[in-house]
Every structure is written in C-alpha cells, then in structure tokens.
C-alpha cells in the first residue's frame, strides 16, 4: 500500500500525460462528461471539433487554476473555477463562430455547455488545485486528448454506420443501407454501451490471466 502511494506522488510528467489517454480515459473509464459525448458524436468531424474545444478549455483552465491555486480562498474555490471555465468557454464559442459558422450551428448550445462538463471541473478540483503548472498542463493535455479520442471513436462508428462515410467522405458502396438509428439519439446510447462493453470484456480477460 505504502509503495503505491509513493509511486503515485512521483509520477513523471509523461505518466500524467499517458494516464489520461488510457488508464484513466475520461470517456471509457471515468464515464465523465457524457452529455457532449452522446449529443455531438453523430459525425466524426463534430466529435473532433467538440473534443478539441473541450481540450482547449481544459488546458487553459487547468493552467490558470494551477497558477492561482495559492491565491483562491478555499471557501469560494468552486465558484472561482466555474468563472474561470466560463470565461474560456465564451472565448472558444466566439472563436468557433469566427472559424466556421456551419460547425457552430451543428454544435449549437453544446459549446456553451462545456461550462458544466464535469470533466473540466473535476480536473480543476482534483488535480490543478494541488499541482504545479507543468504537471497540470500535462494532465490537461492527456485528459483532453483522451476525451477527444473517446469522442472520435464514438463519432467514427456512428458516422460509418449511420451515413456510410468518414469525415464526410463516403467510403461504403452505394448500395449500403444506412442505419439511420445510429445518427439519432438512440444510436448514441447504443454505441457508447457497445464501446464500454468492449472495455469491460478487455478488463475481464486481463483479470482472468
């Protein structure tokens, strides 16, 4: 037990980065921030944009929280974190609108809803408020990319089955009958369930060894 604790405190920056990608993947392992995961993963491009926007907010808010961690009074910390997060979300909201109006229309209110994504608040509270700037940035990078990875893997499955395309480029033969359900809300639930099942099977197999 003691050994494990010392190991945890001496994690290098690279380990902080890797853990978000795999061992503590926000989508498949922690099951955090499910609203955007299900809502905007109907095409791979939406999923990628949403993932990158979330990663940006995560990195910026983690760095700022980490820098201010000695100045924010403990009693009002959650409120301060939410204010910091909301500021960056407003920035990315306007940035996306400037880059592509169509993308902004597709993602809709879900960009603004990054504010209440539990993943970002949980990283600020559980990690950035206790660690140095460098480590917090690595953590945010790992978690952000892990989140993007999860979103895109959902988006790919839904787009291939739902419209026979990848990133808008058709890949399946003409006569392929699209599974319309995959781009509808119900498809989101089923795809996520299927991915979690794959992870569970993998875990079970590894434990059995």
């Amino acid at each position: 037990m003691n050994k494990e604790i010392t190991k945890a405190t001496t994690l290098s920056s690279t380990d902080e980065f890797i853990k978000g990608l795999w061992k503590e993947n926000p989508v498949f392992v922690q099951v955090l921030g499910m609203c955007p995961v299900l809502a905007v993963s109907n095409t791979a491009i939406n999923a990628l944009a949403m993932g990158l926007a979330t990663a940006f907010v995560l990195i910026m808010s983690n760095s700022l929280v980490s820098l201010l961690r000695n100045f924010i009074p403990k009693e009002v910390r959650i409120a301060s974190y939410i204010l910091i997060i909301a500021t960056f979300v407003t920035m990315i909201d306007y940035a996306i609108q400037a880059i592509s109006v169509e993308l902004h229309k597709n993602l809709g209110a879900f960009i603004s809803l990054i504010v209440v994504n539990c993943l970002i608040l949980s990283r600020a509270e559980a990690f950035a408020s206790k660690n140095t700037l460098g480590k917090s940035i690595m953590d945010a990078l790992g978690m952000g990319l892990g989140f993007t990875l999860g979103l895109v893997s959902l988006g790919l499955v839904r787009e291939i089955l739902g419209s026979g395309a990848v990133f808008g480029i058709p890949i399946l033969p003409e006569n392929f009958q699209e599974w319309v359900i995959m781009i509808l809300p119900a498809g989101g639930f089923f795809t996520l369930a299927a991915w979690l099942l794959v992870f569970n099977l993998y875990k079970q197999k590894r434990n059995a060894l």
């Binding site: 609203c35 204010l83 209110a109 603004s112 504010v115 209440v116 509808l184 989101g188 639930f189 569970n200």
Partner: protein, 194 residues
C-alpha cells in the same frame, strides 16, 4: 418573437424533444440517481423547481444584457445566477421545511452542475420566448426530465432481478435501456407541430 402556443411548447419540451432522451442533457443525474423510483421522483421535483426559477432569472438577465449591449457576458452571468439560485433555494428549503431538506439531501447542490438547467436557459434565449412562454418551457422540460427519470427507475428496479452476464451489468445495461427508452420516445415526433 416566437408565436408557439403554450400547449405546443409544453408538449415539445416534455415529450418530443425530451431533454434527457433527445438532447442528452442531464445525463449524469439520469444515470446516477435513477436506481430507485422514490429518489428519482424527488430529484425530478427538485430539478423542475430550480428550472422554473432559473428560467425566470435567465429571462431577466437576457433583457438586461440586451439593454447594456453585452451579450458576451451571457454565459458567465447565467452560470453564476444558477449557482446562487440553487444556494438560495437550498437555504430557503432548509429554513421552511427541514423534512423536505432532509429528503432532497445531496441532490440540491448537485443540480448546479446539471447541464439541463443551463441548457434550458440557453435554449429559451435562442428560441426568443417571452416570459410566460419561458416559464411554460421550463415546466415542460422539468416534467419531461422527471418522466424520463421515473421510467428509467422503474426499468432499473425490474432489471435488478434479471439474470444478465457480469460484463454487461452496470453502466452498459443502463445505457442500453436508455437507448431503448429513447427509441420509444421517438414515436412522439411530429406531435405538437402544426
């Protein structure tokens, strides 16, 4: 200005575009507290209550921000107002009815990070509802949320007795059930439009 009638708004928010099953808002409490019918009902009630209040507040803020020409402050002011409303409601309920406060427990503070509340405030602004339309919309959304939560809780209480393989238990099974429920709600599409 939006011309939809009250009944149209209510049916739309409650059934056709159910916040949980069509917009995926408030999934966290939906998966978290839908284990028992009893708690699901209480959570639904609390959310509906906060929705009604924050919808009225959001309407006021929007009008004010329009007046001072600062729309970029919208998101920040909404979230601050929702957080403080929840706090206020919590203190008020604690003072007026300790029994109800006990019953709601941890659910009240958790509502702050419920995306359904912020989503409601943003949607009603986007749709350009007036004050009474906003309140109807909030009530419909709250009812829809409660309905989804109750249905899910009923399903899960039954599922507890079912023999399912160990790998599927937990989140996977809940998600599949939610997917089927979402399919069922698709049957409502077209209802409430002209």
């Amino acid at each position: 200005m939006n011309q939809e009638s009250f009944s149209q708004i209510f049916i739309n928010a409650c059934l056709v575009n159910n916040f949980v099953l069509a917009y995926f808002l408030g999934i966290c409490p939906f998966l978290g507290v839908s284990g028992k019918i009893d708690t699901a009902g209480k959570m639904g009630g609390a959310v509906t209550f906060v929705m009604l209040i924050s919808s009225m507040c959001a309407y006021g803020i929007h009008a004010f921000l329009e007046a001072i020409d600062a729309p970029f402050l919208q998101l920040i002011s909404y979230i601050v107002v929702i957080a403080s409303t929840v706090q206020l409601v919590e203190m008020f309920v604690k003072k007026m009815s300790p029994a109800l406060f006990q019953a709601l427990g941890i659910f009240l503070p958790l509502i702050t990070t419920n995306c359904a509340i912020l989503g409601l405030a943003l949607f009603q602004t986007n749709k350009g509802y007036d004050f009474f339309q906003s309140v109807t919309y909030a009530f419909g959304a709250g009812t829809g949320f409660t309905l989804a939560l109750l249905l899910m809780a009923g399903l899960r209480e039954q599922l507890d007795f079912a023999e399912v393989p160990k790998v599927i238990r937990g989140t996977v099974l809940t998600l599949v059930a939610a997917g089927i429920l979402s399919l069922a709600f698709m049957g409502f599409s077209g209802l409430g439009s002209n």
